[in-house]
């Protein structure tokens, strides 16, 4: 049971693909202009990651090391294309907005990274959990960045949610600063993505440092773990 907890914590916080491993930054920065875009891409990535982890774990004994990587890439590419087709069929407008970033999920290093570092060495259940935790960790960061940029840049949040959840979601939009809010433009522009991501990483580091201090004070024994939590566990 402890192992599962560890895997979840690893994906969601300690080794968060976006904030610690800094993987998949291209989509992270490019489509985090609003919550709906971020959520759409986050869900797609999550789906591909879980799917690829499942299949990689299932076939882990059947492929030799020599053809391991091409086989994984093939699996990931086919899951991505399936996701792309499904999004095109069921969330057509969102698909149009996210555009090239859906097929680019193939190149998201977080996915191949998990296949190579975790799924091909572990049993099915832990692999599913790992894919889910990593994907969720990635998605949460993506949505957080999207929310911050949307609020600062346009003064509203949850705009255009009907693209993902159907017409009923049109009313979810909340205007925070009233009609006359001009918008903090840089938040929506590309530099805003870098600024917000940097801020989130900083906040995470502060929290980590704080927790470490508390843990150290509690046990009274000096922490033996490495100072920076920037490990990428068993990735090469």
């Amino acid at each position: 049971m402890n192992e599962y907890k560890e895997i979840s914590f690893n994906g969601l916080w300690k080794n968060n693909p976006a904030l610690v491993q800094l993987l998949g930054l291209c989509p992270l920065l490019a489509v985090s202009g609003s919550v709906v875009n971020a959520l759409g891409l986050g869900l797609a990535t999550l789906l591909v990651l879980v799917g690829s982890n499942i299949s990689v774990s299932l076939i882990r004994n059947a492929v030799s090391d020599a053809v391991k990587l091409p086989a994984f890439v093939m699996i990931i590419a086919s899951f991505t294309t399936c996701t792309e087709l499904l999004m095109q069929a069921f969330t057509y407008e969102l698909y149009q907005i996210l555009g090239i970033f859906i097929p680019l999920i193939v190149t998201n290093c977080a996915i191949l990274g998990r296949a190579d570092a975790f799924a091909c060495k572990n049993k099915l259940i832990p692999s599913i959990l790992d894919g889910f935790a990593m994907g969720l960790g990635f998605m949460l960061v993506l949505v957080a960045i999207g929310a911050i940029r949307e609020i600062l840049g346009t003064g509203i949040i949850f705009g255009n949610m009907h693209l993902l959840f159907g017409e009923a979601a049109r009313s979810w939009q909340i205007s925070l600063f009233g009609e006359n809010y001009k918008g903090f433009l840089i938040a929506i522009l590309p530099p805003g993505a870098f600024l917000v991501t940097g801020l989130l990483i900083a906040v995470k580091n502060i929290i980590d440092a704080h927790m470490k201090k508390r843990a150290a004070a509690k046990s009274k024994s000096p922490a033996t773990r490495s100072k920076r939590v920037r490990t990428t566990d068993n990735t090469a």
């Binding site: 202009g33 059947a62 492929v63 030799s64 020599a66 053809v67 091409p70 086989a71 093939m74 699996i75 590419a77 086919s78 294309t81 399936c82 087709l85 499904l86 095109q88 069929a89 069921f90 057509y92 407008e93 149009q96 840049g153 346009t154 255009n160 918008g183 433009l185 929506i188 522009l189």
Partner: protein
Amino acid sequence: MLGQSITKNSLILGGFAVVTAGVLAFTFSLTADKIAEEEKRAATRALSEIMPAHLYDNDLLSNTREIPLEQQQLLGLEGDEKIYIATLNGQTTAIIVPMIAHDGYSGAIKLIAGIQKNGQITGVRVLSHRETPGLGDKIDINKNDWITTFDGKSLTRPKSERWAVKKDGGEFDQFTGATITPRAVVNRVKQTLTYFKKHRVQFFSQNDGNSSGQEN
């Protein structure tokens, strides 16, 4: 020995290729109809937004006309965009003209405009653009309703010299901090109206007694 392992590995990879191709083919066949339907619906929605329902009773998507090469330039076009013909009881009532403004702030702005027989605009929409978010992107109906100021306008209303943004002495609003984008759109719409005036005969002359819809 080496040969054996190469054979084995290529068989494994080949097997993977077959299985993944099968999965893709399956998903594709599941979604193909739905995707085609969604694409059609999206295209129809864009067209019907700028063409009032009382002006046509045909299927706009299937009643199109190619634009002759020498005329494409007048509209700034460079591809295979088509003109959509709206007919009511077999009579052409309006057309939807595609156009591209190339002098925006950042890349081409693709637009469509519905124009009635009498030269009056029924609506203009931006199909795609890369203008600055928060500034130039107000030409997008999802961001701002500025684009609806074209509704009902024609070459004579306002007068030709007033067909410009306010900064240039015209009567169309520009946006705070963004003049280039609306200027490009206004100019393009004006040029398209000029094109329409010059070439309208080819759409309305042979006022088609024969049934509409077969001019692909």
